[in-house]
Amino acid sequence: MSKDFKLEGVFPALVTPFKKNKEIDENAFRELINYVIDNVNGIVPSGTTGEFVNLSFDEQKKLIDIAVDEVNGKKFVIAGTGASSTKHAISLSKYAENSGADACLVVNPFFLHPSDKGIYEHFYRISRAVDLPIILYNIPQTTDSYIPRRVIEDLAEIDNIVGLKDSSGNLTYMLEVLEKVGNKINVIIGNDEVVLPALASGCKGMILASAQVFPEIWQEMYIAVKNGEIEKARELQMKVQKLTRIFCRYGGAVPIKATLKMLGINCGKTRKPLREGGALLREDKEEIRIELEKLGKVPQKEFKFEILDKPIQARFKDIGLSSEDIKKDNLLVGTCSSGKGLYKVHIDLVFGKKDSSIGIAFAVQLTHPRHGFEALTTILEPNLTCKPSTLIVPMIKLKNLRQANMVYGPVQNAVAKAVIDNVKKNIISKSKVDDNLMIIKVAVHPNAIDRNKLFINCYKAVNKAIIETFRGWR
């Protein structure tokens, strides 16, 4: 048993890179190890993030071998050697021992649910079979059961059971374990969303998927908590909170691999049936990029936000309404901007009778989607279409899903609410909502991130424009 192994600090649970032919990509794995190695205390190959259940035993062994070789004694290697049967877990753990790994991470046996006796026996047998430090691994999200606290109490008495990785994120469970066995084994946190509270309550470290994306932030937090700088640690956790939520809840290895690719490390795709577009929607992938931009890990594209200074009557030509149409058909027009910088929202609105030129413009927008300027009918929520029927038309070309999300989400919601609010106040006369239509052109900054700020500014702009435009109209 390696005497110097210490289960403390930051350990990334590495993804398993695959080549196009679905085989393990050894070069990429080595590249990934070198990307994280300086900022970590050790690495974990063949864990849950490494898709261990979708690897053959030979592949798991290969990963362990590469990890031990590449790390070359500089840091610790904790090999994921869990399996649902005791026999297989023992055989893998023995392999890890011979291969030179420093410890084994053994998951709670899954699929068939053994009794408490069976769970104890599983870990006990493994501990007797190898002379390596063993870390218990509680992850009910995938195993569908907790390692019972009472079983842990007994397992903690075994000399080479040195720790518990708890990925549940359930702090009451974690504190119960800390209270009972915190002085005997090291509890480390495996849930990226609650790292700070876990460290603050006595966890000795972390094994995290996100520790291969920003190991330096976790290292900084780990040291901050050690030094009692809770305020600083809290700020660091908040900085990465949204990313950790996406990683933990939207498919683990899938978003991590997508993120690494954005950082320039191509680890290929996850093995099927897991893939992008499942737990991780393509829309949400855009959110990862936004967060990486905020952290300064990927560069942000420059964009100049300008509204052409034309008279309002001339601003609807692109949707087929000339200033003559507006005059001839007595269409109401209005405009307003609100907010500044990234959160400036500009809107131009036009309103009039269905059987005039605006009716045709409205129908044309919905029958001729212009690429990047797709119009949509405004809803309060699905199956609650706004009245008067209102079309939103983007003014700035939508080039990616994130921009589309901003317009089809907070912007649409704000427009709907502002319109209905003004119907309620009878500024838009209730008796006329069925005979008229509204088209609202909206410009929002392509780099805008905060949805709530967009919502508020968009609401203000639309509300003000309506109040001014409809003044005196009945």
């Binding site: 949204k242 939520r245 996406i246 809840r249 939207y250 577009g277 499942g278 929607l281 393509r282 949400d284 959110e287 269905k354 059987d355 009716g359 045709i360 409205f362 129908a363 044309v364 919905l366 029958t367 001729h368 989607p369 690429h371 797709e374 949509l376 009918t377 809803i379 309060l380 929520e381 699905p382 199956n383 609650l384 279409t385 706004c386 009245k387 029927s389 999300n405 089809y408 989400g409 907070p410 649409q412 919601n413 709907a416 609410k417 209905i420 609010d421 119907v423 309620k424 209730k430 909502v433 069925d434 005979d435 239509l437 949805r451 919502f455």
Partner: protein, 490 residues
């Protein structure tokens, strides 16, 4: 007390009618009772469907009084008198005894989650009132699923004459049949498994949907009793979807809206249960279609005026909100959002317009332009002329198949059904055009669902466009609480 013979058959769990101010609507309640009494073996008042947790003690007493009065010499009245405390339950049960109810339906005490020995004692105290008691297991609401051995033990109390099990857990019911069949009456309270429960030995059903279709449940009950299992099975299958909508989409509001469609206005649930909440707007459309299919909503004459002055009469499955005359076809908007599941959800933006109007002009422009380019739009139906416009740019072969085959087929089927049902009368088909903007999520895979959700979404969108829904009142009512799904970051 031995098993009671009267405790068998079909019992609706009555809704509690409210007026616009959320006060009990006594007139509507009497109307409902008179509507149901001829078809049922008895009624349950102040049950879960009756929103008993939202009622004051006084209100429950009032409902019990009215039901007893209306049911006198006709049917037995079972009063829901369960509360979370033993004391209140005893008081209310005592009231029910004095008022002349036949038995008390007593739910497992909820919220503070008593242990089974405490639950046992609860019923033991009620047993001392010397009045028939029916146990009520509904883990969906109480959070506690009684164990068969708890029921077996409580069934020993001499005044316990039955149990209603709403869990839908057939294995639990089977254990009850094995242990206590014949000792007390065993009722199933889960509409989706009414027929199998009766076949396996249930003595009767207490159901929310028995407010809407009492005579069908009665027929199922009689068929099983007379050994005609095949017929009972067919009937259950006929109402399966309605039962699923009622049970899974917030029974009380669903039943209330259903009764409204049948012309019995019982108002809405008390808040926070509300229209468009657990009982979603798409469920409302589907419930209506089910009631039409079962012949409960009958066709009425509705006038269409597409061309000014030219009136077309249609035999239309109208409900109270349907206008008597559907007119102004300049540009009608309808929306249809229908699931499940998430990836295959359909979202249809529909325009219906008269020939020569804005929709027709846009339609013709689009067709002309499409001829010169690689077509993204398709004319998918001739009468009425219908254009399909994909909302999301089609990038892959798979997406093209989803839109132009699966979703398109659903849209076409919906148009055909609408024509058949008189929603789109044949005489106007040459005078209107339709544009359907169709959304299919790029992650969708289940082709059958894409087809079916688009069928549903299109059916709903057509009806909503013609009937001018949602109403401005609905929009104003919900503008604050509406939940836009894309407003939030992960």
């Amino acid at each position: 007390m031995p098993k009671e013979n009267w405790l068998a058959g079909i019992f609706p769990a009555l809704v509690t009618p409210f007026d616009k101010n959320e006060e009990i609507d006594e007139t509507a309640f009497r109307k409902l009772l008179r509507f149901l009494i001829p078809h049922v073996s008895g009624v349950v008042v102040c049950g879960t469907t009756g929103e008993f947790v939202y009622l004051s003690e006084k209100e429950k007493m009032k409902l019990i009084d009215i039901a007893v009065e209306e049911g006198k010499n006709k049917i037995p009245v079972i009063a829901g008198t369960g509360t979370s405390s033993t004391k209140h339950t005893i008081e209310l049960t005592q009231y029910a005894i004095d008022a002349g109810a036949k038995a008390a339906l007593i739910v497992t005490p909820f919220y503070l989650k008593p242990k089974f020995n405490e639950i046992y004692e609860h019923y033991e105290k009620l047993n001392e009132l010397d009045f028939p008691i029916i146990l009520y297991n509904i883990p969906q609401c109480t959070g506690i699923h009684k164990k068969w051995w708890t029921v077996e033990g409580i069934a020993e109390l001499e005044n316990v004459i039955g149990i209603k099990d709403s869990s839908g857990d057939m294995a639990f019911l089977m254990a009850l049949f094995e242990k206590i069949k014949g000792k007390i009456s065993i009722f199933c309270g889960h509409d989706e498994i009414g027929m199998p429960a009766l076949s396996a030995g249930a003595d009767g059903l207490i159901l929310a949907s028995a407010n809407l279709i009492p005579e069908i449940w009665q027929e199922i009950y009689k068929s099983v009793k007379s050994g005609n299992i095949e017929k009972a099975r067919e009937l259950q299958r006929k109402i399966q979807k309605l039962a699923r909508i009622v049970v899974r989409c917030g029974a009380n509001q669903a039943v209330k809206e259903g009764l409204g469609m049948l012309g019995i206005d019982v108002g809405n649930s008390r808040k926070p249960i509300m229209p468009g909440g657990v009982f979603k707007r798409e469920d409302r459309e589907e419930l209506r279609i089910q009631l039409e299919n079962l012949g409960k909503i009958q066709k009425k004459e509705v006038e269409f005026e597409v061309i000014e002055g030219k009136i077309v009469k249609s035999n239309y499955p109208a409900i109270p909100i349907t206008p008597k005359r559907i007119k102004d076809f300049t540009l009608k908007i309808g929306e249809g959002f229908a699931g499940p599941p998430f990836f295959e959800v359909a979202h249809i933006d529909l325009m219906i317009g008269k020939v020569g109007g804005p929709v027709d002009i846009a339609f013709n422009k689009a067709v002309k332009r499409e001829k010169s380019k690689n077509g993204k739009l398709r004319v998918i139906y001739e009468k009425p002329k219908t254009l399909l416009v994909p909302t999301v740019t089609v990038r892959t072969k798979k997406q093209a198949e989803h839109i132009y085959e699966n979703a398109s087929n659903g849209v076409i089927l919906a148009i055909e059904k609408s024509i058949k049902d008189g929603i789109l009368p044949k005489e106007i088909l040459n005078d209107i055009v339709i544009v359907a903007n169709v959304f299919v999520h790029p992650s969708a895979e289940n082709k059958k669902r894409i087809m079916f959700n688009n069928y549903k979404g299109m059916l709903h969108a057509i009806r909503k466009a013609l009937e001018n829904r949602p109403t401005i009142e609905e929009l104003i009512e919900e503008k604050e609480c509406a939940r836009h799904p894309f407003k939030y970051a992960p």
